[in-house]
């Protein structure tokens, strides 16, 4: 079996765009997806914990913050899904032969994502729309929704790691063709997942801090408190990330890790830049935490985190490339760009964003 690893052939239909364009859109839309995804994933837990503290200590601040998060979460999830559709599209066109195969092996758990998502999402709406009526029960609902949402992330990690390891497929398939597998045997799955989960707490903490920044105009004491509370989440999660991130790095196959340790100059540079940015943002946030006027430190920190995420999205792509090196040869694609449709896509994208901008402007102006 080892000598004959079954990897599906490339689709006989030509690629409708150059690889670089599809790759760029894959990475760009993945970046856009990851931001609301982090807010939703971490935000659910932050809301649950904050609400719980608020009810226990009868703290007006905590309850008010949880209420704000409850209002935001459904919208954030909607954009997680909407912006997630695009990378799901582009990954299929570039990496379909890997993605479909690993999906089939995990078919039932993979398909359960849909059910988990519907349940989790309606739970978040319930939390938002029935805040008053539910009282204590809403803690159970928001926590259950957050856990279901986190489970979805875990299934994604399972599939997207299995997709990178074709050498495992045949044994799994011939042992059980019913799509009942998970990918626990891979040592990178758990640390990779925790790496994402930990990051989401940090990013959700930033959302809280930004809410505080906005609320500061009306209620400076509350705003100040929310900023510090949010930054506390960020700082703790980022410190925890030092451990989780290192674990993930160590769990990678030696050959893959080596790329970021000097074997490849570009990969090492991007990875180093990500580390520098995240450390710098940590420093900024700590200063912001103690500062009496944290606005610009917070904003600088957020820009640095955005840079970190961009670098990490690129690092992730390099990891994928390293795993698939033996199986994926870009030069084998036959490319026949559908130029007219591509141009139309970009025109409509500008138009669509314009329409969304118009609506947002109207809403903001009506305040």
């Amino acid at each position: 079996m080892q000598s004959n690893i079954p990897v599906p052939d490339l689709d006989p239909v030509s690629l409708p765009a150059p690889v670089w364009l599809l790759k760029a859109l894959l990475l760009l839309t993945f970046f856009l997806h990851v931001i609301p995804m982090n807010l939703a994933l971490g935000g659910g837990f932050v809301a649950a914990v904050t609400d719980w503290i608020g009810r226990r200590r009868n703290s007006e601040y905590h309850l008010s913050l949880a209420r704000s998060l409850a209002r935001i979460l459904p919208i954030v999830i909607a954009f997680t899904i909407t912006l997630g559709v695009a990378p799901l599209l582009f990954i299929q066109v570039l990496y379909g032969q890997f993605f479909y195969t690993s999906s089939v092996l995990l078919a039932w758990p993979w398909l359960s994502v849909i059910v988990l998502l519907i349940l989790s999402y309606y739970g978040f709406y319930l939390y938002s729309f029935r805040w008053e009526q539910l009282q204590g029960k809403r803690l159970v609902i928001v926590l259950a929704s957050a856990v279901l949402f986190a489970a979805i992330g875990f299934l994604y990690t399972n599939n997207l790691v299995l997709m990178l390891t074709p050498e495992k497929w045949a044994a799994m398939y011939f042992q059980n063709p019913h799509g009942m597998h998970l990918n626990f045997s891979d040592p990178t799955v758990v640390p990779r997942y925790l790496h994402f989960l930990t990051a989401s707490f940090a990013v959700a903490g930033l959302l809280v801090a930004v809410l505080g920044l906005l609320k500061r105009r009306n209620d400076s004491a509350y705003g100040r408190w929310a900023i510090r509370y949010g930054l506390l989440w960020f700082v703790i999660a980022t410190l925890l990330q030092l451990v989780v991130g290192s674990w993930f790095l160590l769990s990678l196959p030696n050959a893959v890790r080596a790329i970021f340790m000097g074997a490849d100059a570009f990969a090492t540079a991007v990875f180093a830049l990500a580390l520098v940015c995240s450390f710098a943002s940590l420093v900024m946030m700590v200063i912001g935490f103690v500062s009496s006027n944290p606005s610009w430190k917070l904003i600088t920190g957020i820009v640095l985190i955005a840079l970190t995420i961009i670098c990490m999205v690129i690092v992730r792509d390099i990891v994928r490339g390293a795993y698939l090196e033996r199986y994926f040869d870009v030069s084998k694609f036959s490319v026949e760009p559908q130029t007219g449709v591509i141009v139309l896509f970009f025109l409509l994208l500008v138009g669509g964003l314009g329409v969304i901008g118009y609506m947002i402007r109207k809403v903001v102006a009506a305040r």
Partner: protein
């Protein structure tokens, strides 16, 4: 062939796609019609200065928000997940042909979701004119996503010139694109009307209820006039074989196609006689029944649409079992096992006929048949001896026009026939397969075990 086959015992992958896509189609067509219903009814409320009606629209908008951004959106992604699992080759082909179509649909999806939120959350914040404009954006974005996905769906039945030219535009604006879009749009409006009947009939205030029930019933009128005409137009554009299957060629499909028409007529007749003529006496329970019948018609129609596409998944390009039409001679010459990546049997000898037969079943038949569940094969070959099965397989495409031809060598056909005969214990000849002891080998009785 290229991809591992997901073995779904009892229900089979095809039915799974059917279940999810019928739910999605129903809900999303409903949501598209609903968005137009919202904005037009809002406008009507402003024009007639009817506060009660405006309140009614507002309450609706939350429901449509939840329906659009949660259920519609996620079940839509669900179809993608499911077709990728059940038909990876066909999904891959569609993605390669239409990735930019889908990318454009994604833009409309973004706009639709954003406008649904603004429409719902900014009711009291925006001035009337701007709010109405957002409502129109919501509707047009929703409808455009239908107009795009319709091209891809219609393509699967009528790829038209694409087969020769491989042109995106010819694939998209294929022969059934226009009639199909007209049909679906009319259905969207009718479903919105059915839903509005449900909510309107529950209103407490008599005057408003009568007015809205009557108004809602009018939403079925376009469908009443358009469906027969566009239906004939659609049928005139589908491949002759598909027409034949739906009109007598395959009994089940013909019955279902007939039921679609019958149920539609019943809905129209009852809506006309009930809520339209006597809006004051229209009970809530009837509206539930209408809505349920709407679901039946949707499910039934989508099922027929899928069924008439047989024996292809993408007409003239790919058979239902993912074998490419263009490679037909190669399969006949070299066999199907040779190019299959996910089977353990590569060469057929006397010792492994049964194992090979099961593998060939997985490759060629399993996309439509289960062993004992939906479209089960075991009862179909009951009492058939091996030779007879072999003869049937050899002439499959002429005996059963809606099935793909058997695509393999005579030896492969014989192996499949033997395995099929063994399902009912008709093992005429010896060569009983004894499983290989290697950990990778598949248990031959798997199918039987799963069934129990």
């Amino acid at each position: 062939m290229n991809y591992p086959i997901w073995d779904v015992p009892m229900i089979g992958g095809g039915l799974l796609i059917g279940i999810i896509s019928i739910i999605h189609t129903y809900v999303s067509q409903f949501a598209i019609g609903g968005s137009l219903f919202l904005v037009l009814t809002e406008r009507k409320a402003y024009r007639e200065n009817d506060a009660g009606m405006l309140e009614y629209v507002k309450r609706h908008s939350r429901f449509f928000l939840l329906l659009t951004v949660v259920f519609g959106a996620i079940t839509g992604v669900g179809i993608w997940f499911t077709i990728g699992l059940v038909h990876p080759s066909a999904t891959s082909a569609l993605i390669h042909i239409f990735v930019w179509g889908w990318a454009i649909e994604w833009i409309t999806f973004l706009v639709e979701v954003a406008s649904a939120f603004v429409y719902y959350y900014a009711w009291d914040r925006l001035d009337r004119q701007t709010h109405l404009r957002v409502g129109w954006i919501y509707f047009w974005a929703a409808w455009l996503s239908l107009a795009i996905i319709n091209g891809i769906l219609a393509f699967m039945l009528t790829p038209g010139q694409w087969i020769a030219t491989r042109s995106f535009w010819q694939a998209f604006f294929n022969p059934t694109y226009s009639p199909s879009l007209v049909l679906r749009t009319a259905v969207c409006l009718a479903l919105a009307g059915l839903y509005a009947l449900l909510t309107a009939s529950r209103l407490k205030q008599e005057e408003l209820r009568v007015k809205l029930v009557k108004y809602a019933s009018r939403w079925l009128a376009p469908a009443f006039f358009v469906l027969p005409i566009a239906g004939i137009w659609y049928i005139s554009q589908i491949p002759p074989l598909a027409r034949e299957i739906s009109m007598g060629g395959a009994a089940a499909v013909t019955i279902f196609a007939g039921l679609t028409i019958l149920f539609s007529i019943i809905i129209f007749a009852f809506v006309y006689l009930g809520p339209y003529r006597e809006p004051g006496k229209f009970p809530f329970s009837f509206s539930v029944m209408f809505l349920f019948m709407g679901l039946l018609v949707t499910g039934d129609t989508e099922w027929v649409r899928e069924a008439v596409r047989k024996p292809y998944i993408i007409y003239d390009y790919m058979y239902s079992n993912a074998f490419l039409v263009a490679h037909r001679d190669q399969y006949l010459r070299e066999g199907s096992l040779a190019s299959a990546k996910w089977v353990l049997t590569k060469e057929i000898g006397d010792a492994n006929m049964m194992a090979a037969g099961r593998d060939i079943f997985d490759l060629q038949c399993q996309s439509c048949h289960t062993i004992d569940g939906y479209n089960a094969i075991r009862p179909m070959v009951k009492g058939w001896p091996e030779d007879y099965i072999d003869h049937q397989l050899e002439n499959l495409q002429t005996l059963k026009g809606f099935m793909p031809p058997f695509l393999g060598t005579p030896k492969e056909r014989r192996a499949l026939a033997r395995w099929l005969a063994s399902l009912n214990g008709n093992e005429a000849t010896g060569n009983i397969y004894i499983g290989e002891p290697s950990p990778g080998s598949r248990d031959l009785t798997q199918g039987d075990r799963d069934a129990k």
